[in-house]
Amino acid sequence: MGIEPFSDPKSIDLTVDIGGIKMKNPVTVASGTFGFGREMADFFDLSLLGAITVKGTSLEPWLGNEYPRTVETPSGMLNAIGLQNDGLESLINEKMPFLRQYDAPVIVNVVGQSLEEYAEVAARLDSVEGVDGLEINVSCPNVKKGCLAFGTTPEGTAEVVRAVRDKTDLTIITKLSPNVTDIASIAQAAVDAGSDALSLINTLMGTAIDPWTQKFRLANITGGLSGPAIKPIALRMVYEVARSVDVPLIGMGGIMNALDAVEFILAGATAVAVGTGNFVNPMAAVEIIDGIEDYLKKMDKSSVMEIVGKVS
C-alpha cells in the first residue's frame, strides 16, 4: 500500500496506448503527408512525435499516377498520388534504418491489390525491428483497382483485416474510408476481424475541372480531398465510430492546430494525426503536442485520457 508519491501538480500525462503501441503523446502524422520522415527531420526531432506513420507501402514499387497529382481547393486540396512508393524492400533496407534512429514508434501504412499482397507485406514486416504497427489502408481512393473496393463494405474490410491478422502480432490499425453510407458498421467489422485500433478518416473522393481547358485538373480525374474543408465530416465520423466500437481511434482530417486536435479527442479519438497541416506548417505536429498540453493545463486536467470522448 505504501505512501502515494508526491506528484508534480503541473505534470500532465500525455501518454496514450493505441492497441498496444505506447505513444508518449497523442500526436502522429497522417500517412502520405510525411514521407518516410527524412525530409521532416530537418524541421524537428522526430523523437518528439507520439508515433511516426509512414507513406503507404506495397509489396513491389508503385509508380503512382501521372502529373498533375494535386490541386488546391477551398480550404483543402485534392491529391491523386496513386500511392507512389518504392516498395517493401526499400522500406526495410533504406527507410527503417533511418527511422530506427528516433525514439518513436513507427506505424507502416500498408496497401495492396489483393488479399495475398496485404498478407505478404504484413508477414514480412512482422519481424522488422522498429516497426510497431501496421495501418491497413483499405480505403485509398486514387488507385483504380485494389484497395478501394475492400474498404467500402464491412465484408471486404473484414477480409483484409483477417488476412493481415493471420500473419502478424503487430498492432493492426485499420484505416477507414469516409466514402461510405455507414462508417460505424465497417468499423465494427474491422474490430470483429481483429483490428486493434482504427484510424479515420482517409480522404473524400472529389474532383476539379478547369473551365477554360474543359479538362479535369488531375491526370487521374478524381482525387482525395483533405484539409480543413473536411474537418466537420471527419469529426462527425470519429464521433459515430467512437460510440459504436471499443478500440482506440486515431482521428484525422483537417487538423491544423491544437484546438482542432482537441475537438477530435473530445469526439472520441485517443490519438490524432496531422496530414495536410504538415504542408502548411511543417512544425504543425510538434506545435500541436505543446498546444494540447497547454489546453489540458488551462482546463485543469492531468491527462489526455481524461478528455477522450468527453464531448456533451
Binding site: G35, E39, Y67, R69, S75, N79, G227, N278, V280
Partner: protein, 281 residues
Amino acid sequence: MPNTPCGMKSIYDCKLIEQHEVSPGVWLSKLTGPEIARGAVAGQFVNVQVAKTTDPLLRRPFSLHAVDREKGTFSLLYVLVGRGTALLHRYVSGDIISVVGPLGNGFDLGDSPDAEHIVVAGGCGAAPLHFLCDSLCEKWGCEKVTVLVGGKSKDALLCEDEFREHGVLTEAATDDASYGYGGFVTQLLQAHLDKRSDASNLRIYSCGPHGMMREVARICSEHEVQSCQVSLENKMACGIGVCTGCIQKIKKQSQGCDPAWEYKRVCADGPVFEAENIIWE
C-alpha cells in the same frame, strides 16, 4: 548537382521590408531572413504562406531573386496571377510573413574557369536568374556571362536593367519585335550557338515557360553544350519533398527491365535539372 546546403531549411517569420510594382502586374518584395540569405544558393526557392486563414490553404513557391548576405535580406519577384499572389501583394512593410526555405537544389555553376555561361530568361523566369547571374559573376567573373532575356514585348521584359547593372552582356528578344532581337529568345540562343563551332565549354541556364525551356533543351542537345540546366515550376502541395505531388519524369541512368525513367520530385530533387535528363511532354 545536387548543390544543396544541408540543414538550413526551416520555417522563418520574415519581416517584409518593402514591396513595389516593378512593371505592370510584377512585384518585387524584400524580406528579412538572415538564415535564408546566408544559406541559399541560386536556383533555390522559398515557400510562402500567403493567407492567415485556410483559403488559399497552401503555401506558394517563389524563387530567390536576390539575397544580401550581409544585410540578411532576400527578394522575390512575382507576377500577380491568382488569389495567392493577390493576397501577397497586399502585405505592407513591417508585416510578418511565414517563409519555409531555402528549398530545393540550386544551379550547378561548374568547376572550370574556362567555361562560358549563357543565361536564358523567359518572362517571369527571370526571377531566379538574377540571383544566378550574381553567383556566376562572383565565382567566374561577369565577363564570362551572357544573359538573353525574352518577353512578349518591351513592356513584358523583366529584369533587363538589373542584368545590365551586373555588368554582364545582356541581349533582349521580343516576340513582337518591339525591342532588341525580333523573335523568341530561343531563336536568339540558337543564333548564338550557331556562331560557334564548339559549344563544349558552354554552360546554359534557363528558366521560363515550359515550352521555352523545352526548346532551350532541344537547341542545347543539338549543340552538345557542356551543361544545360533548367528550373521547373511544377505545381506543389508541400514544397518539402513529402507529398510526391510535383513529380517530373526523369531519365534513369541505366537499368534492366524497369522503365527508362523515374519520377523525381521537383521541389526536393529539383527544381533545377539537367535538361537532357528531362522527359518533356
